[in-house]
Symmetry: C2
DNA sequence: AACCGGATTGAACATACGTGCAAGGAGCCG
DNA sequence: CGGCTCCTTGCACGTATGTTCAATCCGGTT
């Protein structure tokens, strides 16, 4: 057994690297590059795609700091967060919105995550969308930790959640830490007991000391039903209880009201997501929101001070600013 | 008088920014972007060019660290420098070589230079070529300092050198410090006297404390005549003296031999470039070389330990490694 | 108000680029 | 040694992008 890299792979990458050099740093046409590399133009096109996909080429966009859009400035001033407004035409559907915001986030994420870091991630449609596009970036000694369990009455949830987790993991070359518990326990006592198990508490500790948290928002009572409510995670009675408690949203299956409060929301006792008091210790907490249906939920999360960095589509951002 | 930015400029930049967002982060086609921005596709193409040219979009290429080319590794091991080999086909002319290496350097330079830094730059065909392509990057409180005088019998040299200097200055938003003296004094005493003038000594001090030096190499006795020898800077007699002293090259009009030594080279007493003992204190000293005609000169500069970072075209790099 | 550069715009054209496809390997059984 | 699959390659085609040019707009001047 040897440590050599697959020579074919390495050949390919070496070529991709020179191709990228010639294309992006020397402005040669793919045709010219093809001649220098003794191959066809189409292969060069493919090499360059490969270079971009694998993060060999890194394209960043830098706001000249003096020109964050008016919207971003307002959000930053009003909520004390770093805001990133993703331009999406007002006519776009909510699906488009999510897809486009997710794509933007996926491309930028590498600027936040680095070697020796631990990032906690939730799961759900937002995280799923992001995971499908993350641009790879090689890191060392870094960890991706699942924030909340994903099991329900029908499945252990390991498939869906770990797919998401896995995509982040391979993109960053990070170890992944799954959280093999249901989204909600039936009995709070089970949770307490499990939390004392070393295998689980190790994970809880990692969550408590992570450098970055990345999450979307659940919004139980708005048009688009978040995955948590659709997938058999909650019974009708539980759902009604949330409604009665005036819940407006959740982060990693921990629920909150419009004012950001969580006290007396019974379901949280059985939820596996990190308590907000813990979450708030994470230095960078990136929230991704797309679509106006999540507006109430977003207001609540802001009130709960769960967010340090917000990625949001333009029209939702506008709505957020206007109503305040 | 107001501090507002030209609203037209700012409009343009804002659009360029969103266009860049949509194009590079969301993979929209220019056509789609045109519709969102209510303009024509060609305008979007222009906006994107603008965004790239002004450094709004920053494209980096990251060697996965495990894959610096064989050549780069050898150079780094042998000379204790950071090497960047620029791929250029062996068939390319020396002019092409220079142009392509310069373009690469111009694109990468922003990764080295930042706010609050001082960079010293020489002048000559290499620096000229680089200056014509530097990708802008906004910095604050940074300085560009001219390393050596550019005047000669016919002109003050302020035009040519300051054009170069100016391009770097505007690209980085840096203050520029010209060096209004000839390349060589006739009398060493004049130099000594001037060096005591506060206006000049201030500049010398800046050179002594700069963070980065950027220079090409002169190679008096090889095919392509460096600007120093062509432009009326040296008399026949001086040229002969250099030859007799076995000089192989110069950095900022300070001459050295193949072994890197400078002792007893009379012309250096009258040269306005920084002494090597001073130059070597600069933490990062970036040398840009293109063309095998500069090989001897490059060997000397390496022997003189003037270089910490080398940018060189592929075939010159190969020649350098092979002959050692 | 009429006039004049100079900059900006969209249409049209000319390139350059991405991708489906069929052909040609390279490895892997049977 | 076929015969199989899976992967890579170059070609051909359609689309996306860069660029020229004439028309238009704008700010300043007479």
């Amino acid at each position: 057994m040897t440590l050599d890299i697959d020579p074919v792979q390495s050949d390919r990458s070496r070529d991709a690297l020179t191709a990228a050099h010639l294309y992006y740093l020397q402005d040669l046409t793919m045709d010219a590059i093809a001649r220098e590399l003794h191959t066809s133009r189409s292969s060069v096109s493919r090499l360059l795609s490969h270079a971009r996909e694998t993060g060999l080429v890194d394209i960043q966009i830098k706001s000249p700091l003096d020109a964050p859009s008016h919207l971003e400035q307002q959000l930053e001033a009003r909520f004390r967060i770093e805001a990133h407004v993703v331009p999406v035409p007002d006519s776009a559907s909510d699906v488009d919105r999510l897809e486009r915001v997710a794509l933007s986030v996926a491309r930028i994420l590498g600027q936040y995550f680095d070697s020796n870091m631990t990032m906690g991630i939730a799961w759900g449609s937002t995280m799923n969308a992001i995971s499908r596009h993350v641009t790879p970036k090689q890191t060392h000694n870094s960890q991706i930790v699942q924030l909340n369990g994903a099991g329900n009455m029908r499945t252990t949830g390991l498939g869906y959640a770990s797919e998401i987790l896995g995509r982040f993991g391979t993109a960053f070359g990070a170890h992944i830490q799954q959280f093999p518990v249901p989204a909600f326990f039936d009995d709070p006592a089970t949770k307490k007991a499990l939390w004392r198990e070393r295998s689980i508490s190790r994970l809880i500790d990692m969550q408590a000391t992570m450098d970055i948290a990345l999450f979307g928002l659940g919004s139980p009572f708005s048009g688009v039903i978040s995955r948590v409510y659709a997938g058999g995670y909650l019974e009708k009675a539980e759902f009604d209880a949330l409604s009665a408690a005036q819940v407006v949203g959740d982060v990693a299956t921990v629920f909150y009201r419009a004012d950001g409060s969580t006290d007396g929301i019974a379901l949280n006792e059985r939820s596996t997501g990190p308590e907000f008091t813990v979450l708030r210790r994470t230095p960078r907490r990136i929230c991704v929101v797309a679509g106006r249906s999540k507006l109430a939920s977003l207001r609540g999360a802001l009130a709960a001070r769960l967010i340090t960095d917000l990625f949001v589509d333009e029209s939702t951002a506008r709505a957020l600013v206007e109503a305040s």
